[in-house]
Each structure stands twice: as structure tokens, then as C-alpha cells.
């Protein structure tokens, strides 16, 4: 006989049954049950199969320390992989599936792996990565490894709230010590937050109250009422998962499977850790078999859930304080045997459920073993905060020693296992007074029995045995951190809560050292697995990177524009509802034969103002800007201090104290930050100001042979006389200022007209109306990238890379001639900058009739049967204007190889092309000022 429900026991509500299935069979439990307690009550023992060997596994613990009972759960059609059965609250309609088991945990076909354990020793993965060839093993390992199964039907509507909170005193853990501390602190006038990861406060009290003659629920209710009436705040179902920099403690509130948890970023002046302690497993042969649980788990299942885990129970422990556990289980009708855990040669009998123990050659019949090799305080948060640990020889465990002054540890988490002392300690610590001395608590040291034949489990979740630890030791993994990584001990989802001390103890025995000499590994958050959504909060999809929207968006949509994201802006890609190819060909034709009418509002518009503005722009530009006359515009590069091209664009001089920088639309924020850096670092910030006006203006561009006619008719300027390419004028549109810039990104005569956003729609419509008479029409971003590529105009970040300097793009003069200091100047004269082997921007022409070159194709040189890359294709289009493919590329020595043939290589395919100037259309520039 295994588990069964005991009448009137536990905190469950027997009037509220809950139906669920496990591996396809129907069962029922009660409100207040976890998946594990409900399954145990039905008599089920095998919940899952182990990670590596597919050993049948049940539960070891009753809460978050359990390493074994991991299940996949479907609820309302959504799958949740890798749920801890011991902490997941049972809900109506749950379909629970055991992991790592096919067809079921009870009858697992891969269980045969257990017989092949010889072939999966410690360090297996490391060795296989090196010899003979990882790929031989990869398919098998991939198939076998991992725990739960991901299904397609996952929840995407899972959005966590992230809250920021503060209190005077945070108490983590609502057991006897935590409740006492919270009450004392709250009654002393502190703002108190008490968190506990269970739904019910009380902690270990439920399993110890029996012997104290207390009614646990009444005692908890009394403390809770006192805390709340003193203004204290209590959060149940809430786990403190970690302590981070500057005292931030993350609290995750579980709201049941299917509902996103709440993440609280709590900052408290005083933090009291009362997280309790857990039993650690005894190392003996087959100690992972179903039916072997911790002493506390056996008692907790009875006290909280009314489940007696077995009928014939053997206690296998060195703990001196288990009499209350014994009494409660005996009172529930179990027969009890007590076995001295320090006896050599202990072995469990039975596979899917134990049937007995062999202890020193003597057989004991039992259906359940409640084991403990001593209690391990849960000191994770203390360690996260930088607190130190000291080995306590009497308790055979590490307990908190020196640490931060704002954090204190009390109760079992501090090694104070006695109720009365824990309450005194909590009272003192809540008032920041020194803690009273602890009472004497002594356990017999248990060392792993190396001579015991058969497998003895150290880490249940990752299937690490004593033999694996011994192998790691033999292979000279002398540091405990090496041991951990080599065997993967403590690296599973439970992070070694139960296995750590057993592993250290095994290592100590093998090395002939004491446990403190072996040392401990690092404790890292989170204390329990947390859904990633809790950290994401509302930062998802568009909330993570909101789109920038154009004032003219409704106008574009009215013209059937296909909208696309370009550098964070939602812009018209092409118009008219056609497919992309047709639309791009049509729009290029309009642009070259009449005029393109485009929305250029996304281009950055940063104003530099002040008496030192001219010095400033001359310093941040590669090109000389000191002699730029009012009303004139100049194209230029900004460099990083290492000489690399950071951004390109035009800058207009309004007057000696005002300049307008036009930068790449995707780059305005970065350019702004770059300029602010230099302004505050190298200039008097009172004499030069920078202001990003991008979103204040809308810009309509008219570019093409008919552009002048259209702009003349628009009437924003009185006339277009003496208004050459690269100059700026101010006119008016409907009585408001209109800024007109003669700049071109298509190579044709071009006007950019900027007006206030609220005049944009009128300007756009009027331009289209006039343009229509001249054959002009709206042109989207896709056609524009073709038009600019025909001219060899670059896009920074596409036609440049992390090595490109301005002289690689054909702009070498300022490097040699500019005498004033500018950002990046000295880097342009390094050995690397002067190298002959630099990649330079060139055009590529393919033979008649050949298709476009793929972007990213490498230009290669074949030598001795080996290909060496000389560069790669950065831009490639079909040019409707030229009726042939065009391409731009960065090629080593390309500048001096005009007209030469080159070989290309792309994903196994060879191509050839001829190097040409980057400008493929109107190289004389005759059209730009036509």
C-alpha cells in the first residue's frame, strides 16, 4: 500500500472536489491540493522518469525542494511544460502528463537506458564533443535530453505586471519565526511586508504543532490578524527569488497555472530571512526509488494535505528531532520502523515502489522510507546578498555568519531548529537586537559509503551518482566548481537544493578532506524557476520598440500604400496596391521621367544653435564645415573617434549660429546622443545647444526632371532663380514657414519642403495634384532605395561595415587637408587606415542576361585551390532605369581595379562580374541641376 487520504486531516477542503487526469486516466483531488498531493492520495507513486536514465521517480519533497516530480500540464487547451508537481496548485480539468516517459511513467519504453548507464558516465557530453565526432551522438542526445515537451498551443496572452515597492521591513517566510518577526516589527510601528510562497501561512508549524499541543491554524490566524491590524502587508503565494544589486529583492506572486505571475521589485530598509530548512537525502544504494521521501515531506503531506504517504514507514535519519514526525504518522495509522542512517551498506529494494531496505545485511520490509541526512538551511537569499557561511559541525551544515548589516537570518534558515528559541530570536531580530544563543542541536555526521556496491544518487534531477563524482575526482576535477560542471551536479532546475551538501560530502570523502575545506559553489537567483514573462512584463512586441508614425500616414493609406518598418518608422513602401515588383518598376519610371513625390519626414532634423555652433559642427563632421555659408548645404560624414563612418547626411547653414543636421532616419537618436556627448565633453554647453526637431516637421520631397515645374507652381518660394543644388531657402505655405532644401537622394533635381505637421496633409495633396499634371506621383521607400543605388549613394550600416572609413567611400580629401581637429581625425592615419588592403566601395556589373547578384555574396580570389574573400556585395537591385542588375560592394583594393573581372561565391554557387564605379546612372551629374 502506498499513499492514501486520511479523514479530517490537513488543510484541504473536502467539500470541493477537483477532477483531473494523469497520463490519460481520470482522478480527483480537493481544493488545497497540489498536483503531487492529489496524485499521492490516489496511491500513484511513479510521477515521472529521470532525465538521463529514465528511472521511475516519485516525490522526494513536498514543496520547491523536490527534484523529481516534474510534469507537463495542459489546462484549457494550453500546455505548460516542466511544472513542479509539488508546488502547482491542482485545478479543475488539468491534464497532467509525466515527462521523459513514453507511453507513461509507469511503463516507459526508454527505461532500458537505465541498463546502459555504463555508457553515460560523468563528463560524457564533454568527451563526446571532442571525440570521435559530436554529430554522431547529437541526434540521439537531442532526442533523449531535456525534460518536458513543448507543444504548439502555448499561451501568448501571458502578461505580467511589474511593480516597484518599498517597505521598512521585509520578512521572507511565514513560518513560526517569520510570523513572529512580522508581528513584532509591525507592532513596533514599522511598515512591514511578509511574503510566503505557500497559499497558507504557517511554514513548518503544521508539521510540528501536533507535539506542542498547539492548533496550528489558530496560532497562524492569531499572528496574521495581529500583523494586519498593525498595518502589515501579507503576500501569500509569493516567492522571493533573488537579491540583486542595491538591495533589490524580486518577489514573484504565483496566480495559478495559466495566469501570469506578478513581479515585485521590492526595496526594504531591513530584510529578515526566515525561509526555513530542508531535509537532505541520505546517500545509499537505489536511494532514488519511488517511496523514499524526506522526513519533512512525509509529515507535510499529512499535515497540509491529509495524505499519509505510506503504511509501513521506515525512518532513516540522523536527526534528533523527529519524534513529532513519528507521532503524527503513527497517529494516522502508519507502522514505524527506525533505522540508524549511519549504518554501512544500506540498499533499497523495489523498482517502481520500494518494498524494503537491506541494512547491514538485514532486511526490513516497508513501503515507504522517510529519510534525512540532516537539515540544510535555505540560505540562498543571504548568499545572493553577499552574506557568508560557516560550517557548523554539530548541525553538519553551513549556516549564515558575517554579512550585510541590513539583512538578518532567523529560524531554521539560521540553524535555529527549536520552536521556542526561534520565536525569541525572531522577536529580538525584528527590533534589530542581538539574537539569543541557540540551543544545542547535534547530528551524527553521515559520509557516503564508497564501498557500498550499486548506484547511489547524489543529484536526482540530473541523474548524478556517487560513481560520477568518483570518476570526476579520478579525472582530476579537484575544485568543487569543476566537479559541478563536469558531472552537472546541482545544475538542474532545482539548482542542487537537495544535492549540494551530498555532493560536497562525497567530494570530501574522496579527497580525505572536511566539507568546509572542499568549499561551496555559488548561489544564483532565481531560487525557483520563474516564467520568463515575469521579467518581460509589458515589454513585448510593439511595446518593446514602439513604431514611430508619420503625420501623413492616413494620406499614404488613402493611396493604398503598403506600409513597412524602416529604421523604427512606419513608412510607405510602395503605393497603389500592386505587388512590390510591379510597383517599384512603375515608381522608378515616374521618378526618372517626371518626378517622385515622397514623404521624407522620417529623416532626422537636428538643430545646432549658439555662438559656438559653427566650431561645434566643424568638430563633429569629417568634412570642413567652418566655411559653409548661410543658405548653403553640404554633404558630410560623422565619424566615431576610431575613425569609422558613424552617419552620413547633409547639413544646412541657416546663419552663423544655426545649423540643421539631416541624419539617417533610423539614426536620429544615436546621432543626438553622439552630439550631446561631444557637446558636454568638449564644448561650453552654454554656448552651443542641440535640439532634435525631427518629429516637429513633415517633409515632402519632389525629385525628378519635372520637380522645378511642380515646385514653381506650388508657390512656396517667390521664384526659383539663383537656387542651385545644395542650398536652402525659407518660403511660406498657406502663410506658415516652409523650409525648402535643394538636396537629392535620387540624383535628379530635388526639393525637400518642410512644414509644420498640421500643414503636411494640405501640402502633400496639393503637391500630388500639381504633380499629376506633370506625370509625377507618389513614390515609396522601396523604389527610393533602387534610385539611390543607381547613383551609388550609400546607406550607412548597409553599404558600410565596422571597418569603413570615409576614404574607403571615395571621400579622401578632408583626411589629408582639413587642418582643424575633428572627431576621429587621428584614427584616419593609423597603419590600418593607410593599408593598401582596405575594402573600398565599388559597383559591380554582371554580363548581359545574367540575374542579380545575391546580397552577401563574396568576391573571392582563387589561389592554390583555396578561395579567399576580398569583400562582399552590400546592395543589389534590378534597375528599371538601366534595364539591368546593379550592385554595390565593399572590395579589397576595389578603387584601383576598375573594369577588372572578379569571381564571386555564394552558398556553393560561383558567379562572375566586373568592377565598375559605384555610380551607375548619370555619372556626370547632368540631371541634378537640370
Amino acid at each position: 500500500m502506498s499513499g492514501m487520504r486520511i479523514k479530517d486531516a490537513g488543510l484541504i477542503d473536502p467539500s470541493k472536489p477537483i477532477k483531473f487526469t494523469f497520463d490519460g486516466k481520470a482522478y480527483s483531488g480537493f481544493k488545497g491540493d497540489t498536483v503531487a498531493s492529489a496524485l499521492l492520495a490516489t496511491g500513484i507513486r511513479v510521477f515521472a522518469r529521470s532525465f538521463k536514465y529514465h528511472r521511475p521517480r516519485s516525490v522526494w519533497g513536498a514543496w520547491s525542494d523536490d527534484p523529481n516530480a516534474i510534469v507537463d500540464i495542459a489546462l484549457d487547451g494550453i500546455s505548460y511544460p516542466n511544472c513542479q508537481a509539488t508546488t502547482t496548485a491542482l485545478a479543475e480539468g488539468m491534464e497532467v502528463r509525466s515527462i521523459n516517459a513514453w507511453p507513461s511513467a509507469e511503463r516507459d519504453v526508454k527505461g532500458v537506458l537505465d541498463l546502459a548507464h555504463r555508457f553515460l558516465p560523468a563528463g560524457f557530453y564533454y568527451k563526446m564533443f571532442m571525440w570521435p565526432d559530436w554529430h554522431l551522438f547529437e541526434p540521439m542526445i537531442r532526442k533523449m535530453a531535456g525534460l518536458g515537451t513543448l507543444e504548439k498551443e502555448v499561451s501568448d496572452q501571458f502578461q505580467s505586471a511589474i511593480l516597484h515597492e518599498h517597505c521598512d521591513t521585509l520578512i521572507v517566510g511565514g513560518g513560526p519565526a517569520g510570523l513572529t518577526a512580522a508581528r513584532v516589527a509591525a507592532e513596533a510601528g514599522k511598515s512591514v511586508t511578509l511574503v510566503d510562497d505557500h497559499a497558507e501561512l504557517g511554514g513548518s508549524l503544521f508539521s510540528m504543532a501536533h507535539a506542542r499541543g498547539l492548533n496550528a491554524s489558530d496560532w497562524v490566524a492569531e499572528q496574521t490578524a495581529a500583523i494586519q491590524s498593525a498595518g502589515g502587508h501579507i503576500l501569500t503565494d509569493t516567492t522571493a527569488i533573488g537579491v540583486y544589486d542595491h538591495r533589490m529583492i524580486s518577489l514573484v506572486t504565483d496566480r495559478g497555472l495559466g495566469t501570469a505571475p506578478i513581479l515585485r521589485k521590492m526595496r526594504a530598509d531591513h530584510v529578515i530571512i526566515a525561509t526555513g530548512a530542508i531535509d537532505r537525502p541520505v546517500t545509499f544504494v537505489n536511494n532514488d526509488r519511488p517511496g523514499i521521501m524526506s522526513v519533512d515531506a512525509g509529515t507535510e503531506y499529512l499535515a497540509r494535505y491529509g495524505v499519509r504517504v505510506g503504511e509501513k514507514i521506515a525512518f532513516l535519519t540522523n536527526r534528533p528531532d523527529v519524534s513529532t514526525n513519528l507521532e503524527q504518522l503513527a497517529a494516522a495509522g502508519a507502522s514505524i520502523d527506525i533505522v540508524e542512517a549511519a549504518t554501512p551498506h544500506i540498499q533499497a529494494i523495489g523498482t517502481k515502489s520500494i518494498t524494503g531496505l537491506v541494512v547491514g545485511g538485514k532486511s526490513i520490509s516497508c513501503d515507504t522510507v522517510l529519510a534525512s541526512a540532516g537539515q540544510t538551511p535555505l540560505v540562498h537569499l543571504w548568499r545572493h546578498a553577499g552574506g557568508k557561511l560557516a560550517w557548523d559541525e554539530d548541525r553538519q551544515t553551513f549556516i549564515p555568519s558575517a554579512g550585510p548589516d541590513w539583512m538578518r537570518v532567523i529560524g531554521a534558515a539560521a540553524g535555529t531548529f527549536d520552536f521556542d528559541v526561534a520565536v525569541q530570536e525572531a522577536t529580538a531580530v525584528a527590533l534589530k537586537a542581538p539574537a539569543p544563543p541557540r540551543s544545542i542541536y547535534k547530528v551524527t555526521p553521515l559520509r557516503p559509503d564508497l564501498a557500498n556496491k550499486g548506484r547511489q544518487w547524489i543529484d536526482f534531477q540530473h541523474d548524478v551518482t556517487l560513481k560520477d563524482v568518483a570518476l570526476a575526482h579520478r579525472e582530476n576535477m579537484v575544485s568543487v566548481e569543476h566537479l559541478k560542471r563536469y558531472t552537472t551536479l546541482g545544475m538542474a532546475g532545482d539548482q542542487g537544493k537537495t544535492s549540494n551538501i551530498a555532493g560536497l560530502s562525497a567530494m570530501a570523502e574522496l579527497k580525505g578532506q572536511s566539507i568546509p575545506e572542499v568549499g561551496t559553489t555559488t548561489f544564483r537567483p532565481p531560487f525557483v524557476p520563474v516564467p520568463l514573462e515575469a521579467f518581460r512584463g509589458t515589454k513585448r512586441d510593439r511595446q518593446m520598440a514602439p513604431l514611430k508614425r508619420l503625420a501623413l500616414e492616413p494620406e499614404h493609406r488613402a493611396l493604398d500604400a503598403a506600409m513597412g518598418e524602416y529604421g523604427g518608422w512606419l513608412r510607405p513602401a510602395w503605393y497603389g496596391g500592386d505587388d512590390e515588383k510591379t510597383a517599384v518598376v512603375r515608381e522608378c519610371k515616374i521618378a526618372r521621367e517626371a518626378a517622385a513625390i515622397m514623404d521624407s519626414s522620417a529623416l532626422g532634423a537636428i538643430e545646432v544653435i549658439g555662438p559656438d555652433a559653427r566650431d561645434f559642427v566643424n568638430f563633429v563632421y569629417y568634412n570642413t564645415m567652418s566655411n559653409l555659408k548661410p543658405g548653403r548645404i553640404r554633404y558630410g560624414f560623422m565619424l566615431s573617434e576610431s575613425g569609422l563612418v558613424f552617419d552620413d547626411g547633409v547639413m544646412a547653414c541657416v546663419d552663423d549660429t544655426r545649423f540643421i543636421i539631416s541624419c539617417s532616419s533610423s539614426h536620429a537618436d544615436a546621432v543626438m546622443a553622439h552630439l550631446e556627448h561631444w557637446r558636454q565633453d568638449s564644448f561650453d554647453p552654454k554656448r552651443v545647444h542641440i535640439h532634435d526637431t525631427t518629429v516637429n516637421w513633415s517633409t515632402v520631397t519632389i525629385a525628378g526632371p519635372k520637380a522645378s515645374d511642380i515646385v514653381a507652381e506650388l508657390g512656396v518660394l517667390e521664384n526659383l532663380r539663383d537656387f542651385p543644388h545644395m542650398s536652402l531657402r525659407f518660403g511660406d505655405f498657406e502663410g506658415e514657414e516652409a523650409r525648402v532644401a535643394r538636396v537629392s537622394f535620387t540624383g535628379d533635381t530635388s526639393f525637400e519642403i518642410s512644414v509644420r505637421n498640421d500643414f503636411a496633409a494640405t501640402l502633400w495633396r496639393k503637391t500630388l495634384e500639381i504633380g499629376k499634371k506633370h506625370g509625377a506621383g507618389p513614390v515609396g521607400a522601396e523604389a527610393l532605395t533602387v534610385l539611390r543605388a543607381e547613383k551609388g549613394y550609400i546607406l550607412v550600416g548597409k553599404d558600410t561595415d565596422g571597418e569603413t572609413m570615409p576614404h574607403d567611400l571615395g571621400f579622401g580629401a578632408p583626411r589629408l587637408k582639413k587642418s582643424a581637429a575633428f572627431v576621429g581625425d587621428r584614427s584616419l592615419h593609423s597603419e590600418k587606415a593607410n593599408s593598401e588592403a582596405r575594402k573600398q566601395l565599388v559597383g559591380l556589373i554582371v554580363k548581359d542576361g545574367e540575374p542579380m547578384l545575391p546580397i552577401g555574396a563574396h568576391i573571392v580570389r582563387n589561389k592554390d585551390g583555396k578561395r579567399r574573400s576580398l569583400g562582399y556585395v552590400t546592395t543589389s537591385h534590378y534597375s528599371p532605369t538601366l534595364g539591368r542588375p546593379i550592385a554595390l560592394a565593399l572590395v579589397e583594393g576595389g578603387e584601383h581595379a576598375m573594369g577588372e573581372p572578379v569571381d564571386l561565391w555564394h552558398l556553393g554557387q560561383a558567379r562572375s562580374a566586373k568592377i565598375a564605379a559605384s555610380c551607375a546612372f548619370d555619372p556626370e551629374g547632368a540631371r541634378i541641376d537640370a
Binding site: D245, M248, A673, Q680, P685, A820, R826
Partner: protein, 88 residues
Amino acid sequence: MQQFPCPFCGLRDEREFHFAGEAGKTRPDTTKEISDADWTTYLYYCTNAKGPSREIWVHTTCQEYFVMTRDTVSMEVLSTEALNEDAA
């Protein structure tokens, strides 16, 4: 998560800040001759102090650069001050 006191805005979450370099690094006068070694030192070499470290940070929401002295071991912020003393 760390909290930094911006000299202009007060205590804010670290997500609002960017590191901008170690304090006390002066840009060499590039109109004069500078050796490769000196320029490389300026560009790439940092003290990377273990313990108190004087650094330049920018509060991205107000765009002001400032000097922060913090302990790189304990993560404690020791002080913050405006970059230009009369800027605040």
C-alpha cells in the same frame, strides 16, 4: 537593479543610464603630432579600477552627462556631481 542619483533628476533606475567612459581622460590635441601609442591609449586603455572608480555616465532621459564615483566591487555609489560645476 542598481539605482543612481542623477545630479539633476535624483535617484533613478540604472536602466535610464549609460556608461560613457572613465573620468579624467582628456582628448589629445589632434592638431599636434600624437604617437600611435598615445592615441591608442586614449582610445582603448582603461584603468578598470577594482574598488572606487570615477566615471562619466549619462542619464539618457535628461541627456545630461555627469561624474559618478562608485565602488566596482560593492556596487555602492559614493558620489555624483555635474560635469561642469556651474551646470546644475
